[in-house]
């Protein structure tokens, strides 16, 4: 019983979730944790009270939590930690705040890692660490990090398609790379672009592989697409860059 309490606090479980079972395999350095919604409260006529989502407003009966999933989580010490839980099959909520299923120690169906570990991986990727370094730092296999990296990158071009980009040079234009590396100083008065370029230049120059540099260029172009209306003089400079 005390083990469950201890691991609950280490994982940071809130009152909506509890540990049903946990097992430790010292030889394999592996910890498995099974989570279930906290003991269902009974309401009038002893009906099981549904799980209320403060994000989308739905009430989900516990019996609809049918889709069992398992995710890798941050290591606890040297132990690889795996978390299992059941989710509703039709997850509809897109809000983080108030959604009982959007917790750092849970994941989404089909994802290999928890939201918390995914966030850490994306944060490290954004800071310019290569996939192989992230694997070493977080004790993960390359396939897992790649799947997160590709999933993250794949989500972005979709948004791009909806934006009108006829006036904007494509990523092959040398101005993007010169701007990101600091070889060329674009003149701008836009605060957001200056702060973005300041961060991005450091990340771009510290990147140890071209995939990562390409992702930074993509991020920069996305910014231009999204803020086109405020960037007419900057786009003109870019188009004139040789």
């Amino acid at each position: 019983m005390r083990d469950k309490e201890l691991i609950s606090s280490v994982l940071g479980l809130d009152d909506k979730w509890q540990i049903q079972d946990l097992s430790v395999n010292a030889k394999q350095q592996r910890l498995d944790v099974i989570l279930v919604p906290s003991a269902p409260r009974m309401s009038f006529f002893f009906q099981e009270k549904p799980i209320d989502c403060g994000g989308c407003g739905r009430s989900i009966p516990s019996r609809l939590l049918t889709h069992a999933a398992q995710w890798r989580h941050h290591n606890l010490g040297t132990f690889h930690t795996y978390i299992q839980a059941a989710l509703p099959q039709d997850m509809q909520c897109e809000r983080s705040v108030g959604c009982p299923f959007d917790k750092p120690y849970l994941g989404t169906i089909g994802q290999p890692v928890t939201h918390g570990l995914r966030r850490t991986i994306i944060g490290l990727l954004n800071e310019g660490l290569s996939s192989s370094k992230i694997c070493r730092v977080l004790d993960l296999d390359l396939q897992t990090v790649w799947s997160i990296e590709q999933g993250n990158a794949a989500a972005e071009p979709e948004k791009e398609e909806s934006l009108e980009d006829a006036d904007l040079p494509d990523l092959g234009h040398p101005g993007w790379r010169a701007m990101a590396s600091g070889d060329w100083h674009l003149k701008t008065k836009l605060l957001s672009l200056s702060l973005l370029l300041s961060r991005l230049r450091s990340q771009f120059n510290h990147a140890d592989n071209d995939d990562l540099r390409q992702r930074k260029l993509h991020e920069l172009r996305q910014f231009f697409l999204k803020n086109k209306a405020l960037l007419s003089t900057e786009i003109e400079q870019l188009n004139n860059y040789k």
């Binding site: 809000r95 705040v97 944060g123 954004n126 605060l191 957001s192 672009l193 200056s194 702060l195 973005l196």
Partner: protein, 337 residues
């Protein structure tokens, strides 16, 4: 409600409690600043509020605990979402922001979420892609040891002291929010400081490439700690203000974090803030739709009774123009295409 009261609140003004109640009752979205006790006396409605008793009001800088600063949001607002952010959620602030519009973010001073935002905001997903403006809430400086700052959700009437509060505002496609800053400090000609890691508590650093300690440099060179460290971020001067120097431990506490891979220099003295500000203020044809300035500018530049042009707003414990800023005026304009 009288038209003049409504017009004044659209430009951001300090009001009596009764006037503020009259302005907020009809439900037009607003951002509010007032002493914490006063915030709790306001009617429920579509607003968020932060605690602070210092203002740049229409009649000049002042400390006041019996009036309420109300800034109505632009009349083109399509929809509003008020959302609370704890330590585990604040990283989503930009992701949750509207695709077309802006977010106003208020964070209570000296909380975990304040420190997390200070250190990590530049790396949050979609940061800089969507406008985020706001401030760190505070209290009267005489109550600093005991008084807690807070944020209040006008929709629920709930006052929170440990979580941030955001108002995500959707605008129509022809309205574009732009955030700007006025920082009259420039990098001086002194040595360059590099810090090995991000943080608001500093010990070792490199000074012109040589290992040293910031505290030693400040003490040995009798540096005026009212002058911030300044980083040149692609042409934008970003300040990091000094909170305290511990001579015994040889450490320095900062009001905002320093970051690695960034060059800092101490600012040159600025002389008269108000005239420096007037020179630095860009033309704002449509006026500012939201602004805030720093309590340190209020104190160090003795702004009590002085005016900073038409720019009004709370004098805060930290400014948010995307990331956390210091000793800086932050403002927002709306471009109507």
């Amino acid at each position: 409600m009288s038209t003049s009261l409504f017009d004044q609140a659209s430009r951001g003004r300090l009001f009596t409690l009764d006037e503020a109640c009259e302005i907020l009752s009809p439900g037009r979205p607003a951002a509010v600043a007032a002493d914490k006790a006063l915030l709790q006396k306001l009617p429920k409605g579509c607003w968020i509020g932060g605690s602070i008793p210092y203002f740049m009001a229409q009649d000049g800088g002042q400390v006041c605990q019996d009036r309420v600063f109300v800034q109505l949001m632009p009349e083109e607002v399509l929809s509003v979402r008020i959302q609370s952010y704890g330590l585990d959620e604040i990283h989503r602030i930009a992701v949750d922001g509207p695709e077309q519009g802006f977010s106003v973010l208020l964070i209570p001073h000296n909380t975990e979420v304040h420190h997390a935002y200070a250190r990590n905001a530049p790396n949050y997903e979609q940061m800089y892609m969507k406008p985020i403006i706001g401030w760190i809430t505070g209290c009267h400086l005489d109550e600093l040891a005991t008084g807690k700052s807070g944020v209040l959700n006008g929709e629920t009437g709930q006052l929170v002291e440990e979580a941030a509060l955001a108002m995500h505002i959707d605008l129509p496609a022809n309205c574009i929010a732009e955030i700007g800053i006025v920082n009259i400090f420039e990098q001086g000609s002194g040595p360059v400081f590099h810090f090995p890691q991000a943080g608001m508590h500093v010990d070792d650093c490199r000074i012109d490439g040589v290992e040293g300690r910031l505290a030693d440099y400040v003490i040995d060179n009798n540096i005026d700690i009212q002058l911030p460290l300044v980083a040149d971020c692609y042409g934008v001067m970003v300040n990091v203000s000094i909170a305290a120097v511990d001579q015994e431990k040889r450490t320095v506490d900062l009001y905002a974090p320093v970051f690695p891979d960034t060059e800092y220099r101490f600012a040159d003295p600025v002389g008269d803030y108000v005239s420096g500000f007037q020179k630095a203020l860009p033309e704002l044809p449509g006026g500012s739709q939201f602004s805030c300035n720093c309590i340190l500018n209020y104190l160090y530049s003795e702004l009590e009774g002085k005016k900073t042009e038409e720019i009004t707003g709370p004098m805060t414990f930290g400014e948010i123009g995307y990331q956390l800023l210091n000793q800086t005026l932050v403002y927002m304009t709306i471009h109507r295409l």
